[in-house]
Amino acid sequence: MATKASRSAARLMMAPAVVLLLGWMLVPLCMTLYFSFKKYLPLRGGDLGWVGFENYVRFFSSSAFWPSVQATLVIVGGVLVITVVFGILLAILLDQPMWGQGIVRILVIAPFFVMPTVSALVWKNMFMDPVNGLFAHLWKFFGATPIEWLSQASMTSLIIIVSWQWLPFATLILLTAIQSLDSEQLEAAEMDGAPPLSRFGYITLPHLSRAITVVVLIQTIFLLSIFAEIFVTTQGSFGTKTLTYLIYQRVLESQNVGLGSAGGIFAVILANFIAIFLMRIVGKNLDA
């Protein structure tokens, strides 16, 4: 049992981390909350006084708000569906006996380690460029007219880029989960004559359900705040202005801090809503 002395020592050792994170969380958050009730234009007069909920009303009723919610949902939803579906398929494939499994694993995981600005620019220029991109060459090869990806199919393009970045993450976690599946269960089912699809639907998928939930929650939190991918490709034009990007533009580009802060508070509440579910799962695991 821990002694009294070691308890107070423990508290002391925890203090720096707790204090730092508390400061990191509270100070900026309170400032954002403060600004969100002010008319605050740093380049045009600075602090112009309290305005109550006006910023919130203006943020939610602005013509950019609903399109940005829609863009956010489409990107997050699209990437989630693609990464989870292909992640499951890939994880099952990688779990099969084969030659060079280690190398294939490395190939599949690699995109996760590419910094967002690099992957976005490489895709934008070397694949999606309507003149010199590889896709353009491919389209021409089949006699089709090359697509101007980032303007004509801006959302699809972004979803492709972001999915490529996050597919390795989903695959890796689902693979880890699949490998903890008791293979005897599958064998028994196979011997009892269960076809592959039922084996997948009744044994593998239920076993994966928790890992899938975790993948969905963690990715949602990260995907809600993707920034660099939009910053270096469309800059928010062609319908790709997500909530994060809209707030960024309000705050730093048009320097309307009050309005941006109201949006920021909304983003924080939204993220917390999802975080609660994730915490529950993590917390449950902590007790085990």
């Binding site: 821990a2 423990a10 600004f35 690699a110 600005t117 620019l121 490489v122 695991n285």
Partner: protein, 276 residues
């Protein structure tokens, strides 16, 4: 696996997996190949895959024109520094939570995790303002601190899960033998914790290296790391594919190599122990 697998099935698996693997890896491979082409070859129609005159020119030009080494150095300092500081703060915290748990330990851990969920854009302006007021904008010190803070929850969590696997009896034995708290940590715990700390350092370094919200918004010319340097290629002049590829290859190569060592830790570090 105990099942008998026919060779035929294994061949099909291998072929399918390799095809998919190479397809996913292709953009990276293509970037690396293009970095060795001339600008003219890089946009050749039809594209040239392997048979071209390989050149190292792009790497030289990127360094000469943009002082690439400075950005690289910024990345190393910021990612390394934030990792080092993070470990310094997190080791004592994780130690106390793992070995002297109290009723509140779980809540503290979860609360720490929740700070990681805070969307960066929600606190963008306050941080920006604080940085201006304190003269930290476009400084390596400022960015190092911010990256340390955003990754601190992950560091604490990873270390905590590693420390928890160390049997407490060993520590008790050391205590019985008269080891002080300092000695206990230094001579008993640390040697056993080194592998866990090393994995944590590795993953955190990777995350800090690739971070692209704060690095883009809080730096300009002076303290910009590679993420921001590469972003400057988004409004290019003239032919630039080969040079973009060379710069990209140099920016991702070190992390790809480190990443291959950290695949296992990735799952642990990014799911907070929820998937094992």
């Amino acid at each position: 696996m105990a099942r008998n697998v026919t060779n035929k099935r294994k061949i099909i698996n291998t072929a399918a997996a390799w095809t998919v693997g190479l397809l996913i890896f292709f953009p990276i491979l293509w970037t690396i190949l293009t970095s060795f082409k001339t600008e003219a070859t890089a946009i050749a129609d039809p594209p040239v895959f392997l048979f071209f005159d390989w050149t190292l020119d792009n790497y030289r030009v990127v360094q000469e024109r943009s002082d690439y080494m400075r950005f690289l150095w910024n990345s190393v300092i910021i990612a390394g520094g934030s990792t080092f500081l993070g470990i310094l703060v997190a080791v004592p915290a994780a130690w106390s939570m793992a070995f002297v748990p109290s009723a509140r330990t779980k809540d503290i851990l979860l609360w720490m995790l929740s700070t990681k969920m805070l969307p960066a854009v929600g606190v963008l302006y306050p941080i920006y303002l604080i940085f201006i007021k304190m003269g930290l904008l476009d400084s390596r010190v400022g960015l190092t601190i911010v990256l340390m803070l955003i990754n601190l929850p992950i560091i604490v969590w990873m270390l905590y899960t590693y420390f928890r696997e160390i049997p407490g009896e060993i520590l008790e034995a050391a205590r019985m033998d008269g080891a002080t708290l300092k000695e206990e940590i230094l001579y008993v715990l640390t040697p056993m914790a080194v592998p866990g700390i090393a994995s944590t350092v590795l993953l955190n370094f990777i995350l800090a290296w690739n971070e692209a919200f704060w690095t883009l918004n809080l730096t300009a010319a002076k303290a910009a790391p590679l993420t921001a340097f590469i972003a400057s290629y988004s409004s290019p002049e003239g032919l630039f594919y080969a040079k973009l590829s060379a710069a990209s290859t140099m920016a991702i190569a070190p992390i790809l190599i480190l990443g291959w060592f950290s695949q296992k830790q990735l799952v642990r570090g990014l799911t907070f122990g929820a998937v094992k």
